[in-house]
């Protein structure tokens, strides 16, 4: 559904000829992870990245958030080349990474606080959102008093409060049990439709990728030169049952084959 409209939609994130490699201590370059990569992600898209461990998925996020900078090429946010991207993209890490000494309300308010808003003001802004995220009555609890799913919701809320229209989610549900995971996927779908943001989502799970995304990027062996894209032929709203359609089962097998080939090779 997304393909035909893409050309008219605004590019939120763009890679232009991006090359990147980690430097070792002697400052000599090791094998590049990305080599002259070009890609664009559009407004309100849901993109999933799948690939084996160590295929450079997290590196991609480190580049987008600005923790790393490309050796060559440019990364554009909302159409502008940004050298200093720190603080401009919402990022939700793999573990919830809530500060254990802060209450739920204080944790969620952290990105607002860091934008030099007064604490009381920041806390006040968070309160109605906690309710919306199914966390009412939890504002004065500490993270260890919450379940894993609840902590991830706080972490997601915190990422959205960065104020950015791009959200990067790094395997956010990998630590959850299967049932919680399913309900969190459905919940994320709802939130994404409400929030009107662009989401880039890393996962190992092909089902998760198919259920959530408009396009899937498959990360192959390094260095990555072109991103292999797969369009998900499903409309919205979707339900988990849609994944049982024959065309999707075929696509899933194909993706698994691709990933397995990478691991073997």
């Amino acid at each position: 559904m997304s393909k035909c409209g893409q050309e008219k939609r605004k590019k939120v994130l763009e890679f232009q000829n991006v090359t990147f490699s980690y430097k070792d201590k002697q400052q000599t370059e090791s094998t590049p992870i990305l080599q002259r990569v070009n890609t664009a992600i559009y407004e309100r898209e849901f993109i999933t990245i799948i690939g084996a461990s160590g295929s450079g998925k997290s590196t991609l996020f480190r580049l987008i958030t600005g923790l790393e900078n490309p050796d060559e090429g440019h990364i554009l946010l909302n159409g502008e080349a940004e050298e200093h991207r720190l603080g401009k993209v919402g990022y939700m890490p793999q573990q919830d990474l809530l500060l254990p000494w802060r209450t739920i309300q204080e944790n969620a308010a952290l990105p607002i606080e860091l934008k030099r808003v007064r604490k009381e003001e920041a806390y006040k802004r968070v309160l109605p959102l906690l309710e919306e995220f199914g966390l009412e009555g939890m504002e004065n609890r500490f993270p260890h008093e919450l379940s894993g799913g609840m902590r991830q919701r706080v972490s997601f809320l915190r990422a959205t409060l960065s104020g950015s229209n791009i959200l990067l989610l790094d395997e956010p549900f990998s630590a959850l049990d299967a049932i919680t995971r399913l309900s969190m996927q459905e919940w994320l779908m709802e939130q994404w439709e409400k929030q009107k943001t662009t989401v880039v989502f890393i996962t190992h799970d092909v089902n998760e990728a198919l259920f959530l995304s408009d396009r899937i990027f498959v990360f192959g062996e390094k260095p990555i030169r072109t991103l292999q894209e797969v369009d998900v032929p499903l409309g919205r709203p979707r339900s988990l049952k849609d994944l049982n359609q024959p065309s999707l089962i075929e696509l899933k097998d194909q993706l698994l084959e691709q990933l397995r080939g990478k691991v073997m090779g």
Binding site: W101, L114, S162
Partner: protein, 250 residues
Amino acid sequence: MNNRKGSLSAGLFILAFLIIWEAAARAVNMIFILPPPTGIIEKLWELKGPLLIEHLPVTLSTIIIGLVISILLGVGIAVWMSVSPSAEKAIYPIIISSQMIPIIALAPIFVLWFGYSIWSKVVVTVLITFFPITVNTYDGLRSGSQELKELMLTMGAGKKEIFFKLLVPSALPHFYSGLKVAVTLSVIGAAIGEWLGAQAGLGYFSRRMMTQFDGAAVFAPIVLLSLIGIILFVIVKWIENKSLKWRKSS
């Protein structure tokens, strides 16, 4: 429940120890060498005037001044080392090796420098209490996780914000551990300082009574010194629980 059981058995153990001591002291019957606990308590009551009014305030102010200086110095050095790697390289080995110097043996020199004033005792106290505070606080400041730091960077946090909102809260539990060790050491430091040369103080009084072969009067100020140590420890523990509420509820 478990806690109460624990303190009950500790109490019983102490009681048994005191009873054995009492019995042994009565059997030996040399009050100037081994005074019985009841004799010490009697002596404490008898000497309560001079001990509480004359000697306790002197020792207590040595301890408090010493601890305050240690906290300021220890935290200051720890922060400095954590923000400047070259300071860490230069200072950390010195701090470690400073603990190899037998401070008790060095103490007479402080009496030479500062005379019988309170400062010679404060110096001894500071020298043995700043170490646990510095090292623990420093380790605490380094314990802030790299992942949390990077997460805060992606939120646009600066160095100052990472220090105050991440490193300081991560360091606090470590700081309190150091402080708990320091308060117990501070009592020892003050007492040793007073042995070497003083005109008042609980340590000084205890030593003076030794020359008079008054066993019970040697022990009486020691009881008070231990009480100071215990009370200081309890106060630190209380402040710790108050400021680390998030840990208590786990």
